[in-house]
Amino acid sequence: MPDGDASTLTFKLVYYGPAQSGKTTNLLRLHEQLAPELKGEMMTLETQGDRTLFFDLLPLGFRAPSGLLIKFRLFTVPGQVAHDGTRKAVLSRADGIVFVADSQRSQETNNAEAFKTLADNCSRVGLDFQAMPLVVQFNKQDLPAAVPPEEIRGRFSAAPWPLTFASALHGNGVVATFELLLRATFRRYAADSELSSRHALDEESFVRGALGPAAAS
């Protein structure tokens, strides 16, 4: 459940995925491309040779017509297998998740293992994985070794989660992924958090507020 009081409502959104699949790059591009009413500095914690050790944090926000401040805190987890404890701690109390997969054929096993740890870790930190707003992004589509979207769609046609395709390095598909997550998040929590009834927000205004007017999605 999003965290908050009478004046603010905070959504914790987590970018999860195998090592070096582009989670931090997703956040960097969002920071460049989004223009919501409120946009904080991107906070990058310690890195080790370009690998995230703790997390990255991008704060975004806008004010609902009712005056309620809607905040989004976008986190990345460290992808390396060794940091599972940190991954779990960052994941706890998440309200929505983007799973960033590496589209390269050689990374299929890593993707599958990371996805399994996502499901496992969700249950360990007390999150209902089945009900969790989740978008699966196949990143690095620009690489020659990437599995093409048609094949991925065919293979995962039975999966209940929306699939998106991106090349975060070039800024493609990053906002679209975030928008899908925003929509799923709105549908999941709108009723519980009285977003429409008390705060006069519908799905479109929720998405527009988070993306800002300039964002080309």
Binding site: T8, T10, K12, L38, K39, G40, E41, M43, L45, E46, F54, F55, L57, P59, L60, G61, L69, K71, R73, F75, H83, D84, G85, T86, K88, A89, V90, S92, R93, R124
Partner: protein
């Protein structure tokens, strides 16, 4: 408020009083004026709130988590606020990282603890499984033993049946001629009683009735009948020693007696052309189960007779016994068909038989070995194909 790394940090948490005082007085020196640092709710955390002063928000994420208030030009205040924000930013990074680290460590510890608990649980499961398996193996072994015992009983019954058939044959033969002798003797008595009516004729009547022959033949008939009845009595006596096969009490026994009994029983059942010779030397008495030994010896003799019959030529079974300081040696030798190496190797296996199905369960030698082992003895087989087999038994005499 929760204790997690990603909570909304308050200014008072990021800089304690000492740090606030250091930062505040340093900024005061730089600005050359009184200043105040306030939290998000506008409470003064450090300094003195100057009247009619400028104020700038201190923002880390989206919303101000405090205010810097001083009566200085805007540019100077901006610089001071930027400096303080930078300090706060460093603090928040440090706080978040250290809290996350603690959280992750405890998560890892919890994971290890769970893993340990799971290992213990699976160990317990395997232990239970092993116990269960052991129980099942025991039950199956018991079942096998029971079956084996049943087969052993069946084999014993079969040999008892064989014995009974032999005995019947043995008894029938003397019974037949004793009966025939007695009816002849009855006719002779009639002839003798005719003498009564011819007494007047004197000695001529004796001759006419051929009573010399009648009396002499009667003697023969009665002698032969007595022999026949003695034979029956002997067979019955020998049979008696088999009637208590399962008597479990140990007795002092002369093994030679057992050999004679067994030989006596088998004697009448020997196929034509098979002779039996006993070469028995005096033996010390042995504490044993005579019923079991009798049955074993009978089985061995039967095997020997069968081996000669299988060879299709006449032959002799030689049963010899002797004693030394250690104990009693018994040898049963036949010059029959002999055994191949494979048969020798497997001879003592339960249920191994070379006989057609239904004529033997293949328990003879294995139960013989069990009986010898029960007497702390040894049993060995030596055989040459087509030349014969010797079974050697050693029974120790308790000193």
């Amino acid at each position: 408020m929760n204790d997690s790394f990603d909570r909304d940090w308050q200014l008072g948490e990021l800089l304690d009083e000492r740090q606030l005082a250091q930062a505040g007085s340093a900024l005061g020196e730089l600005l050359g004026r009184e200043l105040a640092i306030c939290d998000a709710a506008d409470h003064v955390l450090w300094g003195i709130l100057p009247p009619a002063a400028r104020r700038l928000p201190l923002v880390i994420e989206l919303e101000p988590l405090g205010w810097l208030v001083a009566d200085v030009p805007e540019a100077a205040l901006h610089g001071a606020a930027a400096l303080l924000t930078q300090i706060l930013r460093t603090q928040v990074r440090f706080k978040m990282a250290s809290h996350l680290h603690v959280q992750a460590m405890s998560e890892d510890f919890e994971t290890l603890r769970l893993e340990h608990a799971r290992l213990l649980e699976s160990e317990a499961r395997y232990k239970a499984l092993a116990e269960q398996l052991e129980k099942r193996v025991k039950a199956q072994v018991a079942q096998l033993e029971e079956r084996q015992q049943m087969l052993y009983e069946a084999e014993k019954l079969a040999s008892v049946g064989q014995l009974a058939a032999g005995v019947a044959h043995e008894v029938n033969n003397p019974l037949g001629f004793v009966r025939s002798n007695l009816s002849t003797f009855a006719r002779y008595l009639e002839r003798i009683s005719e003498l009564k009516g011819q007494l007047a004729a004197g000695p001529a009547a004796w001759t006419a009735l051929d009573l010399d022959f009648v009396v002499a033949d009667s003697q023969d008939l009665l002698q032969e009948s007595i022999k026949g009845i003695d034979r029956i009595a002997r067979i019955v006596a020998e049979l008696k020693s088999f009637s208590n096969v399962d008597r479990a009490s140990e007795e002092y026994t002369d093994i030679n007696e057992c050999l004679r009994h067994a030989a006596g029983v088998i004697d009448g059942q020997l196929p034509p052309g098979v002779n039996l010779r006993l070469e028995l030397l005096p033996l010390p008495p042995l504490v044993c189960l005579p019923g079991h030994l009798n049955q074993m010896l009978l089985n061995l003799l039967r095997n020997a007779a069968q081996a000669i019959a299988d060879a299709g030529r006449p032959g002799t079974i030689v049963v010899s016994s002797e004693a030394d300081d250690a104990g009693i040696h018994i040898r049963i030798n036949d010059d029959g068909i002999g055994m191949s190496q494979e048969q020798l190797d497997r001879a003592f296996e339960p249920f191994y038989t070379t006989r057609p199905v239904g004529t033997g369960a293949g328990l003879g030698l294995s139960s013989a070995r069990n009986i010898v082992l029960a007497h702390s003895g040894q049993i060995e087989l030596a055989s040459t194909p087509k030349a014969g087999t010797t079974v050697s038994i050693f029974l120790p005499v308790a000193s």
